[in-house]
């Protein structure tokens, strides 16, 4: 049952990602990106990571992509105008690099590099404590410093964005 769901969601998300790249209309591209993100959220649920799934939808699909779509719609890009190809020679190197990257990923997955030993937080343990509780506990104990640094980074980025957008305050 879970395997079937995985294959369906994987197929849908990959298809949406392909459409996202090849779609001429930027509004549709943004909508395909939202679809990919929702599919990834479903994959998180299949991995029993409900908290990350919900946050994925709230942050990416619900907040960031709305702003993306907003900007694209306000710009009202003309679809008929072919965008000028800024890098005409990039096609062949891009295909080559893509193939190299794909084989590299396949090689890593096939090899035993990723099969580390099982850690402390197994799925059964996480489910017994509760996803959100465990993440919260870890964030405010073991990972307090990285958490605070991330929040300062985000804060600085927000101030920077306001400064750039509003020169005359």
């Amino acid at each position: 049952m879970e395997a079937y769901l995985f294959y369906i969601m994987a197929a849908v998300s990959v298809t949406a990602a392909v459409y996202l790249v090849f779609e001429k209309n930027p509004v549709f591209s943004a909508l395909y990106l939202i679809q990919t993100m929702v599919c990834i959220a479903v994959l998180y649920i299949l991995l029993e990571a409900q908290f990350i799934a919900a946050v994925q939808i709230i942050v990416y699909a619900g907040a960031i992509m709305v702003l993306f779509l907003f900007v694209i719609m306000l710009l009202n890009l003309n679809i008929k105008e072919e965008t000028k190809n800024a890098l005409p020679f990039q096609k062949i190197p891009a295909i080559f690099m893509g193939i190299v990257l794909f084989t590299a990923i396949c090689a890593v997955i096939k090899s035993k590099l990723l099969q580390g030993k099982q850690g402390e937080y197994t799925t059964a343990y996480v489910n017994s404590v509760g996803n959100t509780k465990l993440i919260g506990n870890l964030l405010f104990t073991d990972y307090l410093l990285p958490f605070e640094i991330t929040s300062i980074l985000l804060f600085v980025a927000a101030i920077g964005a306001i400064m750039l957008a509003k020169r005359k305050l």
Binding site: V27, L31, I34, V38, A41, Q50, F51, A53, A54, V55, I57, I58, A61, G62, A63, V66, L67, L69, F70, M73, L74, G130, N131, T132
Partner: protein, 331 residues
């Protein structure tokens, strides 16, 4: 297939069917009630012609909308134009999956929880789903290829993004007190004392931003008739317009149900059965919506934004601070 799974699927299907039918019936009756209550508040009679006291008016309206010509503008983006009403209605309805509307009951020897599903991230689920509801309105505004629609769509998405923050943060206080994200736990924690008494600031912020979140008067700028014709649904007709209409009422019912669950004690109450209490509280919240609409004038757009960012957001953060402080001091 084993028996437990079969029972689970049957029970879940029946619950989904019952809840959704109840919501649909409530939407239909809300349309009539809103017109009647507003009319009486403004010393009018309201619809009187169809049925006794205009009771069959929603059915007449529904039939009229079904038989109207369905117009799609020539330069509209057809796919998104068709998809937009569905995208607004569906998130409004599926939020109900996590809202508990009654205590555990025994049916044919099985103990049935009166909530479609009790997930441990119910609180986050609500916000995940409701944040997807914006897309329907944005898509409708853009796909119609009409300047009024686009302006309405942009206004409404800006408004919904701004008010989603205080809306979410106002409930954090309750979540802190309950120390659980499951809505069943939130209701169970209110058996003795409703959260509205412990969290008055939270409730005020929630109520205000909920009205803005569902684009109702006095925050109904996305469809300000005097400036924008009808906002994002200017180009919509027939059943597609009806779906937007239904989505607005479904959203109202949803945010009211969340208010009941988080602040008004859920299904708790003396004498009457839990489901009746839940419905009574829900109706009171919906009446409040209509009351506000028939009393207040519409705000200006900049006032609306300032109110959210400069007043409601700091207030909700202050509420979280105070709640945390008291919790720490009490130990």
């Amino acid at each position: 297939m084993n028996k437990d799974l079969l029972v689970y699927i049957v029970v879940a299907s029946i619950k989904i069917f019952l809840v959704f039918s109840a919501v649909q019936i409530m939407i239909i009756s809300m349309i009539w009630l809103e017109r009647k209550i507003m009319a009486h508040m403004q010393v009018r009679l309201g619809p009187m012609r169809v049925g006794p006291h205009g009771l069959l008016q929603p059915i007449a309206d529904g039939i009229k909308l079904l038989f109207k010509e369905d117009i799609i503008p020539q330069k509209a983006n057809k796919l998104l134009f068709l998809l937009a009403p569905v995208m607004t209605l569906v998130p409004a309805l599926i939020t109900f999956a996590v809202i508990p509307f009654g205590d555990k009951v025994k049916i044919l020897g099985h103990s049935v929880n009166l909530v479609i599903t009790d997930i441990n991230v119910g609180f986050l689920y609500i916000f995940a789903v409701s944040s997807l509801g914006i897309y329907g309105i944005v898509m409708a505004g853009w796909a119609s290829n009409n300047k009024y629609s686009l302006l309405g769509g942009i206004r409404s998405s800006a408004q919904m993004i701004s008010y989603e923050l205080p809306l979410g943060l106002s409930l954090i206080g309750v979540v802190m007190l309950t120390s659980s994200l499951s809505l069943v736990d939130v209701v169970n924690a209110q058996a003795k004392l409703w959260n509205i008494i412990i969290q008055p600031i939270g409730f005020f912020v929630y109520a205000t931003s909920a009205i803005a979140e569902v684009n109702r008067c006095p925050f109904d700028l996305p469809e300000a008739e005097s400036e924008l014709v009808a906002g994002y649904h200017t180009e919509y007709s027939s059943m597609k317009f009806a779906m937007f209409f239904m989505a607005e009422y479904a959203n109202m019912i949803t945010v009211s149900a969340i208010a009941v669950t988080f602040f008004l004690g859920g299904w708790h109450g003396p004498f009457l059965p839990p489901v009746v209490w839940f419905m009574l509280k829900l109706s009171a919240c919906l009446f409040f919506f209509i009351w506000i609409r028939s009393t207040y004038p519409r705000l200006r757009y900049d006032q609306l934004m300032h109110f959210s960012w400069k007043f409601l957001l700091p207030l909700s953060l202050f509420n979280i601070l105070i709640t945390g402080l008291i919790m720490v001091l009490k130990g």
